[in-house]
């Protein structure tokens, strides 16, 4: 087993061990923190497929995170008010069942990613960053003015949604759900990176004209990557809304896009477990330094600056060095 795989295993076991320990010591708040790490890491795993593998610097992933959040919020709000979402052409009721909510969140964010990607991917570099940012902000302002679903105040859900066979109101059980989804996404992401699609996508990031010369379409590769990426981040959004039992336009704002990107950069762009490490460090800093000063993000900024200047591979890069070629 290579060093990076060993490190990854340690990271994921630690993320599992901390809430279990907290359960034993009766510290529910720590479990909530760990759940937040798992969810935000999941959002980062999504972004990492576009950013790390595809080289697509999207500053609009809050759009998918927020769409996932609103998918949960809208479905659950209708369920708790016993109002159908729509009754034509078929009756569509709200729902408080997580699997259905996830499905809607994934499909909605994938559809949004398809549209946003198809338009944004005609540009590259700074223009791509700006146009994804613009789409994210469009949705943000739309949500603010969408009074049917809370507008600026957002939507509160009274009871956490249900998962068949589990009691999601118990923090450790909800953590388990999020952790399992994170592991699934990591596994999927690893397989994707090693697949033919992953090889071609990664090549398109390194040398576009080569990919064209062997007869593959960089645009199509990137669009597919963007849709997969958006869908995973959307799933994370649905979980995040469920964690807080609240969804608001903040989830769609460009700060959120920036935060998801920070997880990826902090941990290591393109490193499979980069977002997990990044999200964990981010939440730890927020919790530890946030207690000292509300300006804790100054320290985060310094850390990020150090990472970008001295360790291009993020924390994992600084610890383990350059990634070796996949075998």
């Amino acid at each position: 087993m290579g060093r990076e795989r060993l490190f990854n295993l340690a990271v994921i076991l630690a993320l599992l061990a901390v809430p279990l320990l907290a359960l034993a010591l009766d510290e529910p708040f720590v479990i909530t923190l760990a759940t937040k790490v798992a969810i935000l890491a999941l959002a980062g795993v999504g972004l990492n497929i576009a950013l790390g593998l595809g080289g697509l610097v999207s500053l609009g992933h809050a759009a998918f995170f927020g769409i996932g959040g609103y998918a949960m919020g809208i479905l659950a709000a209708h369920a708790q008010n016993y109002e159908p979402l729509f009754s034509w052409p078929f009756l569509f009721e709200g729902s408080n069942q997580m699997p259905l909510i996830w499905l809607v969140a994934v499909l909605a964010s994938a559809a949004a990613a398809l549209v946003i990607g198809a338009l944004s991917l005609r540009t590259s570099g700074v223009y791509f960053i700006m146009i994804t940012l613009a789409f994210g902000q469009m949705l943000y302002y739309f949500a603010i003015s969408w009074s049917a679903y809370g507008g600026e105040d957002g939507l509160s859900i009274w009871v956490r949604n249900e998962m068949p066979g589990l009691n999601t109101l118990i923090p450790i059980q909800f953590f388990g759900v999020c952790f399992a989804l994170l592991c699934g996404a990591l596994l999927f992401s690893a397989r994707l990176a090693g697949s033919g699609f992953g090889l071609a996508l990664s090549a398109a990031r390194q040398t576009e004209e080569r990919v064209e010369t062997v007869g593959l379409q960089p645009f199509k590769l990137r669009l597919v990557a963007f849709v997969i990426s958006g869908a995973i981040t959307g799933l994370a959004g649905a979980l995040f809304a469920d964690l807080n039992r609240f969804v608001s336009p903040t989830m769609l704002s460009w700060h959120t896009s920036g935060e998801i990107m920070i997880f990826v950069i902090l941990g290591g762009v393109g490193r499979l477990y980069g977002p997990v490490v990044g999200a964990a460090v981010y939440i730890l800093l927020e919790h530890l330094l946030g207690g000292i000063s509300e300006y804790w993000q100054i320290f985060l900024g310094l850390l990020l600056l150090g990472m970008v200047l001295f360790a291009r591979g993020g924390l994992i890069g600084a610890l383990l060095g350059r990634e070796v070629a996949h075998d």
Binding site: S195, L199, R210, E212, G215, A325
Partner: protein, 259 residues
């Protein structure tokens, strides 16, 4: 023209007709016509700035000509993009290596095999364990003598090895014709000689349109040579015809041959 080898009327694999491309007042391609027949190496030479790269780009599909047409295997491909032309069997190598530097040598070769195989890419199966692709990739690497370096990171290769890998990736495509942009550039004398020997055989698999600065290689290899000056083809002929062509001597070979 070497009519002896072309006695039965053969279809050209590539036919470029009256191609023109201007950038402002600069005529980068000025009514260029040339063709490439099966089994031949057609060399394209010309001084720096003669418009060789512009011509190559138009043939490979990266640049649209203002006028004229390009025919590949009998089909008009003028309006098609790089990807479509690659799929039709155009195997291009680059003057400046455009390899995926983070990949291993083998991964670069597998990428070529993957693109050429025409199957869907797959999202789950490990592509580096695909036997059919590996076979194609490894065969191409061994043909250019790069199999020992298969696991090396491409960024760590020497310049000469990168040139070899360029050719190997083109081989994995199993193209119907090669479009080689200065494959000898930066190779040492021995490397250049080795590659010359290799291309000499390769022409029987697929003809080669060869852009090259190395005159020894060009005169040793080419069945026909076209000379490009200021965007226009001033002469096309065999090595001897080109050597003795007065206009070519004046425009291009003059300084070198004065001794």
């Amino acid at each position: 023209m070497t009519d002896t080898s072309l006695s039965p009327p053969m279809q050209p694999v590539l036919r470029v007709e009256h191609l023109s491309k201007s950038f402002g007042a600069l005529k980068a391609s000025n009514d260029v016509s040339l063709d490439l027949y099966p089994g031949e190496i057609h060399a394209l030479i010309g001084p720096n700035g003669a418009g060789k790269s512009t011509l190559i780009k138009q043939i490979s599909g990266g640049l649209q000509p203002d006028m004229g047409r390009i025919e590949l295997l009998g089909h008009d491909v003028t309006a098609l993009d790089t990807v479509a032309r690659a799929r039709m069997g155009l195997g291009r190598t680059f003057q400046i290596s455009s390899l995926a530097m983070e990949f291993s040598v083998l991964q670069n070769a597998v990428l070529g095999a993957l693109g050429a195989c025409g199957k869907s890419l797959g999202f789950f199966r490990n592509v580096m364990k695909d036997k059919a692709l590996l076979e194609v990739a490894e065969e191409a690497l061994s043909r250019v003598g790069l199999l020992q370096a298969a696991q090396q990171r491409t960024a760590d290769l020497s310049h000469g090895q990168r040139r070899q890998l360029e050719v190997a990736v083109a081989l994995t495509l199993k193209p119907r014709l090669f479009l080689m942009d200065e494959p000898m550039a930066g190779l040492g004398a021995s490397g250049s000689k080795e590659l010359t020997g290799f291309l000499d055989q390769l022409r029987y698999e697929a003809p080669i349109l060869l852009v090259e600065h190395d005159m020894d290689a060009v005169f040793a290899l080419a069945d026909r040579i076209s000379v490009l000056v200021y965007g226009a083809v001033i002469a096309t002929g065999t090595a001897d015809e080109i050597r003795n062509h007065p206009e070519v001597r004046r425009a291009y070979l003059g300084e070198e041959d004065e001794t």
